[in-house]
């Protein structure tokens, strides 16, 4: 730790601080624009780092990355359009909260949660990164599968009283995740001969369609009141950082979500998006009032936002300690390391300590800079929603189309988005919980691939999932969550059957 503060002094030159500020701002802008993800932002900056020394280069890249992970939530909260994949789960409570006229508070919680999660993840990174990285390597296919199943199992909590429709939606999400080239055998599934579908259905078009497009369709029907409403929201869209007393009773959630985020971020192969979705579902599972989730409560923003920023920092752990990127963005950074002649892995901590300190410092300070820069940035962004809805609605459509196209440069994604928009509109009308589709799409691919891989590794032995402790525990939790509502209602029914009888006897 002491070395760290010594190292900080070398890194924090005025120039590097300036670069860091620029990086955070650039990240904020990129993250706020749908279609330009943090990964893209880092790719765009890499040529620029050729001319910088290694410290400055990584200060820039890390700052940009962290800025982008946060600002995806702005358009998620204001327009229900996730600005970056990581913000997908933030739409669930962020948007309803904004619709209740609390856009400012929603954004405030998102800033607070991002900064908290980010700092939490960084402290983890600084203190025990190499030990954690070794543990993360023990996570095999069976564990990944169990993790995905545990995440999906929350649909039973999410849809209490609406279980059948929830199950239908989750299965539909899982189905969408099977489209494309089979991950093990390489066979084409449900592509109907379209090359565009071979790469699978990306979840960004699905989510943008289901959430953003369907919302525009819904809103244009109630056109009359919409303009007053959006004006109302925009007036309140200056972020109000949560007061100290509002943190009461929520600190536990902050810590829990940040821990989930960090741990998932450390796992090679799953990134901040999965972390945010899983943290949301766990937050709901352990909440005392799971029914309120999805109606626009701060908890529903804290859980995904602190997790995705924590995971963004967590993903740096396997990259630095092992040379294995934990997410798409860190994979790009791996390339940048090589360009600057630095070998990530255990030798990094002996050969290139200054760069490590630069990365630590950048990830710590960038999260603090978010607290500073986000409020004015959001104020500027919020001007957009003062635009009358008859203009803003189409604008959201355009942004969604551009955003979805930009993910993979594919028109198929745009058609997928439009189809999902119509479908989402119809499903919401008939009270189908589209959130369950989101869970299925995001976690389905992971579950399937790892399930089949675990069986390859075990030679076809299904008990492998229960022989490994971590996966056994996760699966039991999932099974419990699935069965509990059924058992509870069964108990209730038994009780109500028995109750009159006992009454009769006692009388």
């Amino acid at each position: 730790m002491f070395d760290f503060f010594l190292g900080l002094g070398d890194v924090l030159t005025p120039l590097n601080l300036l670069i860091m500020s620029g990086g955070v701002l650039f990240g904020l802008i990129c993250g706020a624009l749908p279609g330009v993800s943090g990964t893209m932002a880092v790719v765009l900056l890499i040529p620029l780092t050729y001319s910088l020394d290694a410290n400055a280069a990584f200060v820039l890249l890390v700052a940009t990355y962290i800025g982008a992970v946060f600002s995806g939530s702005i358009s998620a909260i204001l327009f229900r359009v996730p600005g970056a994949p990581e913000a997908v789960a933030t739409t669930l409570d962020g948007y309803p909260m904004a619709q209740k006229g609390m856009a400012g508070q929603a954004l405030g919680w998102s800033i607070a949660a991002s900064a908290f999660g980010g700092v939490f993840g960084t402290l983890f990174l600084i203190t025990i990164s190499s030990q954690m990285a070794q543990v993360a390597l023990k996570f095999g296919s069976a564990e990944y599968f169990a993790l995905a199943v545990a995440g999906i199992s929350v649909i039973s909590v999410m849809n209490r009283g609406n279980e059948i429709k929830g199950l239908i939606c989750a299965c539909f999400g899982l189905f969408l995740a099977t489209v494309g080239i089979d991950p093990i055998m390489g066979a084409n599934r449900f592509t109907f001969g379209f090359t565009g579908l071979m790469g699978g259905i990306n979840f960004i078009p699905v989510v943008t369609g289901m959430f953003a497009i369907s919302e525009v369709l819904r809103k244009i029907q109630t056109e009359a009141s919409v303009d007053d409403q959006t004006l109302e929201i925009s007036k309140k869209a200056r972020s109000a950082l949560p007061r100290l007393r509002e943190w009461k009773g929520r600190v536990g959630l902050f810590l829990r979500s940040s821990t989930i985020g960090t741990l998932i971020g450390i796992l090679p192969g799953v990134g901040a998006t999965t972390a945010a979705v899983l943290s949301y579902s766990e937050g709901m599972r352990w909440s005392k009032k799971p029914k309120e989730w999805g109606t626009g409560i701060p908890e529903g923003i804290i859980a995904p936002e602190s997790a995705n920023n924590a995971a963004a920092n967590g993903a740096l752990v396997p990259l630095l300690a092992l040379g294995i990127p934990g997410s798409a963005t860190t994979a790009v950074m791996l390339g940048a390391f090589i360009i600057h002649g630095i070998k990530p892995g255990p030798t990094l901590f002996t050969d290139a300590m200054p760069v490590v300190y630069a990365i630590f410092a950048a990830s710590l300070l960038s999260n603090v800079l978010i607290l500073l820069y986000a409020p004015p940035f959001i104020r500027a962004f919020a001007l957009l929603i003062r635009i009358p809805y008859k203009i803003l609605g189409p604008l959201i459509m355009v942004l969604s189309v551009v955003g979805c196209y930009a993910v993979r440069n594919s028109m198929v994604d745009v058609w997928t988005m439009l189809a999902c928009g119509l479908l989402g509109y119809v499903l919401e009308r008939f009270n189908f919980p589209i959130v369950s589709i989101l869970l299925g799409v995001v976690l389905g691919g992971l579950a399937e691939t790892e399930f089949r891989r675990a069986l390859i590794l075990s030679g076809g032995d299904y008990f492998t999932f229960f022989e490994r402790p971590i996966s056994a525990v996760l699966l039991v939790v999932a099974l419990g969550a699935m069965l509990l509502p059924g058992v509870l209602s069964l108990c209730k029914r038994l009780k109500s059957c028995r109750a009159p009888k006992t009454a009769h006897i006692s009388s």
Binding site: S141, I181, T195, G200, I324, V332, G335, G345, P346
Partner: protein, 313 residues
């Protein structure tokens, strides 16, 4: 207002004339059939940096079309309008493996092959704690029990190399396909698989750090990067494989334009700054001109076909 209108009109009149200007009259799109940030992408972006030196007036745009083992991107190049304004990259063995497995909607004839830039030698790597120290141990272990071996997707260079090795050593692996080298890395370093066929650039740092052990490099010569790792040939195993990355244009482009593109390609790969940057980036240069690379691709396709016919995937 009138003046503005006049200007606009004048501009419209000039525009068609400008459009007939010398090639390249508008930006050249380079289709990269993989995600941004990978080695193929890095090669393309480095190529552009140098190309601008020789064609200062030209603009280049990278278009990443990832997924499906490059097939989407390869098809996009083959289907592009043959005006020389869209060119792209191919990588092996995927570009020929898709043809062999009859999934592709192109053949090698759909392209004008401009040449190869670099390669990434195939390696055999085992977990650090493994008892396998060389290819002899590897073959013995594989004969004793079916080893689990990670390869990067069906039809990839790793996959074909594993198939070639199976034939040469008379063994059969329990193959585990992954999505990308990241998953292979964690499978090896976490000890979840017995071995992996991968590329040198993906694992040399981990090998040097003692977190993985490269037991063979499947090229003719040892690598300057890891001079102590023996080749497969030295260990009596005649399996060769490497991942090449080159440039192609769609077939049917005007001959004069192709000549210009080929000329640019040769200038770039011979440029000393390009060579220096590529070496720094661990892109192992292996320049081949168009006819040479076409010959290489044809040979690779015939070879891949042979393995496919034996056991289709």
């Amino acid at each position: 207002m009138k003046r503005l209108l006049f200007l606009v009109l004048a501009f419209c009149l000039v525009l068609p004339v400008a459009a007939q200007a010398e090639y390249p009259e508008s930006p050249i799109t380079i289709v990269v059939p993989s995600k941004a940030g990978g080695s193929t992408d890095a090669t393309a972006r480095l190529f552009i940096l140098t190309a601008k030196k020789y064609w200062p007036g030209a603009d280049f745009v990278v278009k990443n079309v990832g997924g499906s083992g490059g097939q989407k991107g390869f098809e996009e190049i083959a289907d592009a309008k043959p005006d020389g304004l869209t060119i792209g990259m191919v990588f092996t063995t995927q570009v020929v493996a898709h043809v062999v497995s009859q999934r592709a909607r192109y053949t090698l004839d759909s392209f004008h092959v401009m040449g190869n830039i670099n390669d990434d030698p195939e390696i055999v790597v085992v977990p650090p704690a493994s008892a396998i120290k060389n290819l002899d141990d590897f073959a013995k272990a594989a004969k004793a029990k079916s080893l689990t071996v990670a390869v990067n997707g069906i039809g990839s260079d790793d996959f074909v190399a594993a198939k070639k090795y199976e034939e040469a050593a008379g063994v059969a692996f329990n193959l585990m396909p992954t999505k990308g080298s990241t998953e292979q890395k964690s499978a090896i370093m976490g000890g979840h698989v017995d071995a992996s066929f991968m590329n040198l650039s993906q694992m040399f740092a981990q090998h040097q750090a003692g977190q993985a052990r490269i037991i063979a490099i499947l090229t003719e010569k040892r690598s300057d990067l890891l001079p102590d790792v023996p080749t497969g040939k030295e260990q009596g195993c005649n399996v060769l494989m490497t991942a090449t990355r080159g440039f192609v244009a769609p077939a049917g482009v005007d001959k004069a334009v192709l000549a210009k593109l080929d000329d640019l390609f040769l200038k770039v790969v011979g440029d000393p700054d390009f060579v220096a940057a590529a070496n720094k980036d661990h892109l192992f240069l292996w320049p081949m001109n168009g006819p040479e690379y076409l010959e290489y691709l044809k040979g690779l396709q015939a070879e891949t076909q042979r393995y496919y016919d034996k056991a289709p995937w």
